[in-house]
Symmetry: C2
Subunit: 350 residues, 2 copies
DNA sequence: ATGAAAGCGCTAACAA
DNA sequence: TTGTTAGCGCTTTCAT
């Protein structure tokens, strides 16, 4: 941090007028020094800058916001991750978002809302002009935030495509779950697994079906059957463990040895089942999870997982946000990013 | 959300003046209706309220902030959790903080900073009067934020006691790590373990030493020796796994069967070592982690862990913050909270 | 109990 | 290139 200024102790916060007086120019000139430096004569600019540095002047946000109608704040409704699931994406995503917005002088404002009312909080922040725009993260099918914000004419970008209405014309960024499912499945094929099961969520989950479609596609491309291999369960370790046991009990022409999973939680459940049967993950059974959570990293012997490029998601989100805010025409409404595979020992035949 | 108002489509945002005109009163009366309703005659208040509801009026934050010099924003510097450790505390804490601040109409503003400069970000937000106060979370020994903010006269509360300077007179909230270590150790004693090791961090970690002191204290109170049982390692799964192996190799009069750990990451490492030696967690070996992370919840067979009352931390933090902001004398500078033990199968002898 | 005036600190528009 | 004027929407003070 540059500590050229004197104001270690509180004291009166300098304003434009303070700086102007000290530098012997008008307030407007100081304002220009900050916002349109190219308008000033070189030596004037330098003199004003010197005073700004000396006084440690920073424009008052409220005043600037009142005038420019821009708060430089991005609103994000922060929901708690479900305990017991290994879904710790939010942490990583949020950090990337804070980092990225900081690069353009924006900050992230967190707000909460009653889980039963997906719109709570948005309206008030909008009406009080507290935020310039929103990043909306929970856009699973049926959530009304996008529609609401669009009707209100509020700038926003969603992390998650508009599942219900592919023709929705709001901006979005998403990660290709089908590509992730395919990545996982093709990896298991490469590792020599003959029968590869999918352990996924209920059919009502669009994200789950998307991921699953990658598994289906990869198996079909390899001329393999999916019959009896796709299982739908709730996202918890125990359900996955039991489902894995029953799949492992199934002895067809080939045993099932590959497990592509819709989440790390499920993948971990499969690893538990393996442990209980004395099967060696990697050597005997290949398991791939989804989301590269902390759980995947710490569990023995390491869970191979599909990783979402959250840093890149944040970058795209913010880029689009800036276009939306500057009322630029958006060429592409949606930006689809591709996940990658983090290979660990749970899938390495060696 | 109450949707009494008409403003579904953008349109001009109503101001005090709009409401005043519509209600046939002065702007000031509308302002009073909001901030000092007891000053208005009942029927005036009711009439104004009706217009406010109809128009969906919400005071402009920038204007209010400019006037009252209060942004109702709490700043929090958001650092990324280390990948590969199971420390997912931030997520839970942040959610509690957002929830709690919301109850008094405050929001959380996230900012970031170069990890090499612990002060970055604070100064600018302060000078631009963007936030009313800070919550400071990384107060391990030697971090200069508290000192800096105090010199600047900025309101703040730290999550974490002032390790370096017990006489520091800023407000803080912390969780008693020693009590946590004791809880873990006493639980292992109760489960019948004779020799209980501590797997903790380097001596330079004050938090680590605090937690460890609970282990030492509990063993001394039970008239047991700690000699050779306290191990210091870095916080990762593999280091813990190896350390556990070497402790398990050690065959004294009694084998080591209890492991109290400074983190879940370390606890998980111990469980890995058990798996590799064919030892049954719970039955053969008792393991307790720290922080009740997602990893502890999903790992097989479930890792007993010391859980910090983060929800309560947030509540206390916000309560103290309000005292600080209203310049009330603070009776206690520090508030120490007690953690609890979440028992899972890794420590259940049964 | 209500209204009028002033001003928070800034920038857009215009004048010099 | 620089300065002047006005006003963003609100609340504080004072008058009625």
């Amino acid at each position: 941090m540059t500590e050229t200024h004197d104001r270690q102790a509180g004291g009166p916060v300098p304003t434009l007028a303070t700086v102007a007086g000290e530098a012997g120019v008008s307030r407007q000139t100081v304002s220009n020094a900050l916002n349109n430096p190219e308008l000033l004569k070189a030596d004037t600019l330098e003199r004003v800058q010197a005073v700004i540095d000396k006084l440690g002047y920073t424009p008052n946000r409220a005043a600037r916001q009142l005038r420019t109608r821009s708060s430089h704040l991005i609103g994000l409704r922060f929901e708690q991750a479900e305990e017991g699931t290994s879904n710790a994406l939010m942490d990583r995503f949020l950090h990337s978002l804070v980092e990225t917005t900081a690069r353009t002088g924006h900050h992230v404002l967190l707000f909460s809302g009653d889980p039963s009312d997906p719109l709570e909080g948005y309206d008030e922040l909008l009406r009080s002009t507290a935020v310039d725009a929103f990043v909306v993260t929970d856009t699973y099918a049926g959530t009304p935030q996008a529609g609401f914000l669009q009707r209100r004419g509020a700038p926003f970008v969603t992390f998650g495509r508009p599942w219900d209405d592919p023709a929705a014309d709001h901006a979005w960024v998403d990660v290709d779950g089908a590509a992730g499912g395919r990545l996982a499945t093709e990896h298991l094929i490469e590792q020599g697994h003959e029968r590869i099961a999918w352990l996924g969520w209920e059919k009502s989950s669009r994200i789950g079906e998307d991921r699953r479609s990658g598994w289906t596609g990869a198996l079909h491309d390899a001329n393999r059957d999916t019959f009896g291999l796709g299982v739908r369960i709730t996202d918890n370790v125990d359900a996955a463990r039991m489902a894995a046991h029953s799949l492992l009990d199934d002895t067809g022409p080939h045993r099932i040895t590959g497990f592509a999973c819709a989440s790390d939680t499920i993948g971990i459940g499969v690893l538990h089942a393996c442990a209980e049967r004395g099967l060696r993950p990697g050597a005997d059974v290949g398991v791939v999870g989804f989301d590269d959570s902390l759980g995947a990293q710490v569990i023995w012997p390491g869970l191979t997982s599909v990783r979402q490029p959250l840093e890149q998601v944040a970058v795209e989100l913010v880029a689009i946000l800036h276009q939306v805010l500057s009322h630029k025409p958006i060429e592409d409404h949606g930006k689809m990013l591709t996940p990658s595979l983090v290979v660990r020992r749970s899938s390495m035949r060696q």
